[in-house]
């Protein structure tokens, strides 16, 4: 059955309202503080260590992102942890809070479709995330220029930008997941806990689970050396179910230009290559294209599930 009128009318209004809510809420202020202090702190502390390599390595700026300076993890490591938390905080009460405040039926009685509400909320969350990450990214870049005393070259800027896009896509996965939980669970606390549980699973336990599952699914055959290769491949595939793995692989390709492959490489495959020579950006991009596609696909998949469930939900509280 066809409905008349645009599903998108009202998206802009919802987006602006939610964006204003996001950017002014105390919750968001705290998270911004957290992410800026830790992110900028990590970057700042590595700059000192990175300084020595200016003359040796052509991508010093990228080292600011990737180098870990004990006891702090690297900037990228921090983001891998913090982005999901920020995204979950932005999305966990998106839909259920409208029910709990009893505003849902009043808003949906305005001439808009439900689509507008969900899409508007999602885009507002994504935009907030993008603003926070872009600001942080510029901050780190600025710190680098200030403390290293030289500007980044074009390739570094482009690679940094590709990393930023990957980070936003990674955030999008967690935002879509959090919104899905906000549709499923009427209680905001339950939705938040469910989001954090998934985050905990992928951030800490996935790495421990992967070898166990791999050994069960594809144990290496001691008489067949190639089966060991297969075991590694299967292990990587399982590991890549986690958005964290996808994100860290994308990061690795963009920020460490010398990375030539993400899986095992046979000596025959590297014959003739110059050790330590960086790949052009296009080739790095090609290498992690599947990872980027998978991140985007997860965003879309999670959003669609949330969308379908939301459309079928009864309006009455």
């Amino acid at each position: 059955m066809r409905r008349e009128g645009s599903a998108l009318s009202g998206v802009g209004t919802v987006l602006l309202k939610e964006l204003a809510d996001n950017l002014t809420s105390t919750r968001m202020r705290l998270l911004e503080l957290l992410i800026f202090v830790t992110g900028a702190g990590a970057a700042y502390s590595t700059i000192g260590a990175v300084k020595d390599q200016i003359s040796e390595y052509p991508f010093v700026f990228l080292l600011i992102f990737t180098t870990a300076h004990e006891p702090l993890p690297s900037f990228v490591g921090f983001l891998g942890f913090l982005i999901p938390i920020v995204a979950i905080a932005l999305g966990f009460d998106a839909v259920n809070s409208e029910f709990n405040r009893r505003t849902m039926s009043r808003i949906l009685a305005q001439p808009i479709y439900r689509d507008a509400l969900l899409i508007g909320k999602f885009l507002a969350g994504l935009l907030t995330l993008a603003v926070v990450l872009s600001a942080l990214w510029l901050l780190v870049l600025g710190l680098g220029i200030l403390l290293l005393g030289l500007p980044p070259n074009t390739d570094e800027v482009l690679r940094g930008f590709a990393f930023l896009i990957a980070a936003i896509a990674y955030g999008g996965v967690w935002l879509a997941l959090a919104m899905l939980f906000s549709v499923i669970f009427r209680s905001a606390a339950t939705a938040a806990l469910a989001g954090l549980a998934v985050w905990l699973l992928f951030a800490f336990f996935w790495e421990m689970l992967v070898p166990i599952v791999t050994m069960a699914v594809a144990p290496p055959d001691p008489y067949d050396p190639l089966s060991a290769l297969r075991t590694i491949d299967v292990g990587m595939d399982i590991s890549r179910i986690s958005p964290n793995t996808l994100f860290s692989e994308a990061t690795l390709a963009f920020l460490s230009p010398t990375t030539r492959a993400l899986g095992p490489v046979l000596s025959s495959q590297v014959q003739g290559s110059i050790r330590g020579a960086p790949l052009p950006l296009a080739d790095s991009l090609m290498m992690v294209w599947p990872q980027l596609t998978a991140l985007l696909a997860s965003v879309i998949l999670l959003f669609v599930i949330a969308y379908v469930l939301f459309q079928r939900q009864e309006v009455r509280a």
């Binding site: 008349e4 009043r106 009685a109 305005q110």
Partner: protein
Amino acid sequence: MSEAIIIAEQLTKAYGRAIAVDHLDLAIEQGEVFGLLGPNGAGKTTTILMLLGLTEPTSGRARVAGFDPLRQPLEVKRRVGYMPDQVGFYDNLSGLVNLRYTARLSGIPAGEIESRIDAALSRVGLAEVAAKAVKTYSRGMRQRLAIAEILMKQAQIAILDEPTGGLDPQATREFLELIRSLKHDGMTILLSSHLLDLVQSVCDRVALFNAGRLGLIGRVDDLLRDVLGGSHVLRLEATGHGLDDAIRAVPGVKRVSVEQDIVFRIETSDDLRPEIARAVVRAGGGLISIAAGHASLEEVYTRYFEGVRDAA
């Protein structure tokens, strides 16, 4: 008379095997104040949601302001103002900002938004507190803010679900005044309630709802006459034993029920006060007072639903 502005034909909603609304037929005329009356869970809210296109009917069809809520929900919602049961607003935002948000959602031209909101807020008496956060508002103020939203939209039809739920008597009175003034503007109003006095005092016509079915429908006066059969209701206060039997023996008495220890409710075909007084005295009772009560919708309601329960 022109075509009814709200029409429901065989409207049905089933949740699994439970039927919330069962083949409902309804026609509400332009400018009418119509009351949906029934106990909680009778299907009033479900009916309203179907009329707004917020819930899909299992079968049957509806037409609101000439549009099909299922296929043209935006057209319907542009013309209908809805105040849900226990209406909620964004508490941390002011009343003004809350209205601005819904004004933009309902597509009011940007140039008119402020003037329409101002007019609506002063009409409901909230102009003074418009800039304050809604969390500081009382229940009554929130209800009035919801009415302001409907006024701002310049809706043809207002659908109010349990509009006076949780209001104190003073706030209820003010609220009823507001509803009357909406009617005066020519707005069609559909309100649902389980509060009978409210419905009786403002509604032109009412429909009694029970278990998803429409029991009775008509003007309040007509219902009173039809259901109560034009009978008189007397309230008798008297002490003594076996009085109810003595009263029942009086010719013309239809029903006698004991409301409290010594208070009797008597339905008669005529004004039988002298006869009943005589009967009480003759039975050795102490007559304290006897008065002609006026029949209210509550009698209709009680009687009707008693009948329904007995039949079940």
